[in-house]
């Protein structure tokens, strides 16, 4: 019995609230992916095992499942920490900013890189709680600097917006190329 207890204590580890939720989620994901191995990978008859296209996905997924199972065991055998669902809510809350990011990326090809970036910076600064003119101004100016640095100077491959098409001739060319 004491040997089992010692083994259990070996699996105990320092962790934070929500660890067990993450552990179960990844175990389920690993098992799900592993069950798809026959559908999602091919096996070439006659080829060597190590050269099979199925070999590495299978190896990594088996490894993932085994490690995930031990990770779950470790979580189960460690004492429970309160606050796991509060932590999960925090993860869900971060999705909001993921949506902000995707929305920004989706709008740039229409609204143009410069205007969208400035507006996005100011609105997001408002959203996270800044109200002073100083902070909002700083957000707008930083946004302009980022655009000038990457699009105007470094000429990084970024889209110019459809909105620029409505501009008068000379200005349109400049905006399309540099902003």
């Amino acid at each position: 019995m004491s040997r089992i207890k010692t083994l259990q204590s070996l699996f105990k580890r320092y962790r934070r609230p929500g660890d067990i939720v993450f552990a179960w989620a990844l175990l389920i994901l690993s098992v799900f992916l592993l069950t798809q191995i026959y559908d999602q990978t091919a096996y070439r008859s006659g080829g060597k095992l190590f050269a099979q296209p199925r070999f590495w996905p299978a190896l990594s997924l088996i490894g993932m499942t085994v490690f995930a199972a031990f990770h779950v065991l470790g979580s189960l055998w460690s004492e429970r920490i309160e606050g796991r669902w509060r932590e999960v809510l925090m993860w869900v809350a971060s999705l909001e900013y993921a949506v902000w990011f995707i929305a920004y990326a989706a709008l740039v090809p229409y609204g143009g890189y410069l205007p969208t970036t400035v507006i996005f910076a100011v609105i997001l600064a408002l959203r996270v709680g800044y109200r002073s003119t100083l902070m909002l101004g700083a957000a707008a100016i930083s946004a302009v600097c980022i655009v000038v640095l990457f699009k105007t100077i470094l000429k990084v491959n970024l889209p110019s917006g459809l909105i620029y098409e409505a501009l008068p001739d000379g200005l349109r060319q400049i905006m399309l190329t540099y902003f």
Partner: protein, 505 residues
């Protein structure tokens, strides 16, 4: 000698010099701001450097990599918040010194020790080059496969107390790189019929999500704060004189940095902890450690700054990155069709020497910059954290979108951003995913190309280098099992609280 001159010539261009300045000074600033580390900066800048010459892009990224730890020491010492993850140990002794009114002494010692470590690392790199040029061609597919495997094993085992999580994430990384069209058999792997998965999951999209976007989400969801560091008075050059009294500690610590920097999967953390322990054990005043010991500060700063140069060794000589930052730099080489590995030392030795000299110059630039501008930096680091989050989000867009102008990439990256946030909040490591992706890819390719020459499994290790690496793998595993057995017998498993409490930057 001729190659050295060619290397110097590579640097004698205005754009390279500019990149060096931008990289090294930018790196110090980025390192000094708690909340943005070199990984975030390199991830964001990576796609922007693709359009530059390899030497220009690499110099800039190398500048950020090599100089961020200098900057990271400032908040570690002044406000007990490490600027980059690897400055964690610096705060153990640096902050008590600040509390005792010796902030100026601590900072100047940290800079001097960093400089010592940095230059020592490059010295070793230059001295080792001829040996590397000799040994590197002996590395064939089998050897590189085994070295990559050793890297994966070490990165898992290096996360003591979190081995299952590290293993799980490393395997996840290996799995991620298999998704898409298999390059040899042209069969689909885990695409679930979606066309966007056919081309695979791009490493840079994952890196940007896991490092940059996750950091933005982390800062945006946490309460706003603004680090407040008090300026320090006095000349910054006094630390050099004090460092001379502790030459032994500084040199041994740099030695640890070099050795562990070369071994894939270990890096700054292990080097710091080992040299800190060494310094404490051999010190005349071991009780002072953690309470403001100059030796502790020197051990930690010299060790972590010796790592970047040493980490270039496996990257340049074998094409095997040892940690996340060199893994990102590897993609710069690939984009420019310069394949790091044994051939690099034969065909592009001037580039290698160019990088060495860039590393030396960068340490000098940073040191001179810091001697004059430490107080300016204490003002810059006051940027409120949520504002920083907004900026990282905007900058991440540049990185992800410029890659392929794809909204899908942005979505995948945002998904990895959420995953990264969860890992950061749970204090689980992110690096194993990245190393899994890179080393997993290397292992698959190298194993395939080694296969035709293998009749029996023993052929895998019938060459001297392959056999040595294989022995190392066995030793590493055996040592680990031995520690585990010891722990079971001692009835008290070692709990690891601080070593990896550092995923938040």
């Amino acid at each position: 000698m001729e190659n050295m001159l060619l290397g110097l010539e590579m640097l004698a261009r205005w754009d390279v010099v500019l990149a060096l300045f931008v990289g090294s000074i930018g790196g110090v600033v980025i390192g000094a701001i708690p909340g943005v580390g070199p990984a975030v900066a390199i991830a964001i800048l990576l796609p922007a450097t693709f359009s530059l010459d390899p030497i220009v892009g690499l110099t800039m990224l190398l500048g950020i990599y090599g100089s961020s730890m200098y900057g990271g020491a400032i908040p570690a010492i002044l406000i007990n918040t490490p600027g980059t993850a690897v400055n964690a140990l610096t705060s153990y002794d640096g902050y008590p010194m600040t509390q005792a009114g010796e902030g100026h002494r601590a900072l100047s010692l940290a800079y001097s020790a960093s400089f010592w470590g940095g230059i020592f690392g490059i010295g070793c790199l230059i001295l080792l080059s001829p040996v590397l040029a000799l040994i590197a061609p002996m590395f064939g597919s089998r050897e590189i496969f085994l070295a990559a495997m050793l890297g994966i094993i070490l990165v898992i085992l290096a996360h003591r107390g979190q081995i299952f999580a590290a293993g799980l994430l490393a395997m996840f990384g290996i799995f991620l790189q298999t998704v898409g069209l298999d390059a040899v058999t042209y069969t689909q792997r885990y695409t679930f019929g979606y066309s966007f998965l056919t081309s695979g999951i791009n490493l840079i999209v994952v890196v940007l999500g896991l490092f940059a976007l996750s950091q933005a989400f982390f800062l945006l969801t946490a309460p706003d704060s603004s680090p407040d560091a008090k300026p320090v008075k006095g000349r910054m050059s006094v630390g050099l004189r004090e460092l001379m009294k502790h030459k032994r500690v500084a040199t041994v610590a740099s030695g640890f940095g070099v050795i562990l920097g070369m071994i894939p999967g270990t890096g700054e953390f292990t080097a710091q902890f080992m040299s800190y322990t060494y310094a404490q054990k051999t010190s005349k005043d071991p009780d002072k450690f953690g309470k403001g010991s100059p030796e502790g500060l020197i051990a930690s700063e010299a060790a972590n700054n010796a790592v970047p140069a040493a980490a270039m060794i496996p990257l340049l000589a074998l094409g095997i990155p040892g940690e996340a930052l060199t893994a990102m730099m590897l993609s710069v080489f690939y984009v420019h069709n310069v394949i790091p590995g044994p051939q690099l030392f034969q065909n592009n030795i001037d580039l290698v020497y160019g990088l060495y000299f860039a590393l030396i110059l960068l340490n000098v630039i940073v040191m001179v910059f810091l001697l004059f501008s430490t107080n300016l930096l204490t003002k810059i680091i006051r940027v409120p954290t949520r504002f920083l989050g907004v900026m990282i989000l905007i900058l991440s867009f540049v990185g992800v979108y410029s890659l392929r102008n794809s909204l899908t990439d942005c979505m995948i990256s945002a998904g990895f951003g959420v995953l990264g946030l969860i890992l950061k909040r749970l204090n689980l490591p992110i690096v194993p995913i990245i190393l899994g992706m890179v080393l997993g890819g290397i292992m698959e390719v190298k194993l395939r190309s080694a296969l035709p020459r293998l009749k029996t499994p023993f052929d895998m290790i019938d060459r001297p280098i392959a056999f040595i690496i294989f022995t190392l793998i066995v030793i590493v595993l055996a040592l680990h099992i031995r520690t585990l057995i010891k722990e079971v017998r001692a009835h008290q498993p070692e709990e690891d609280h601080d070593m990896h409490d550092s995923q938040t930057r």
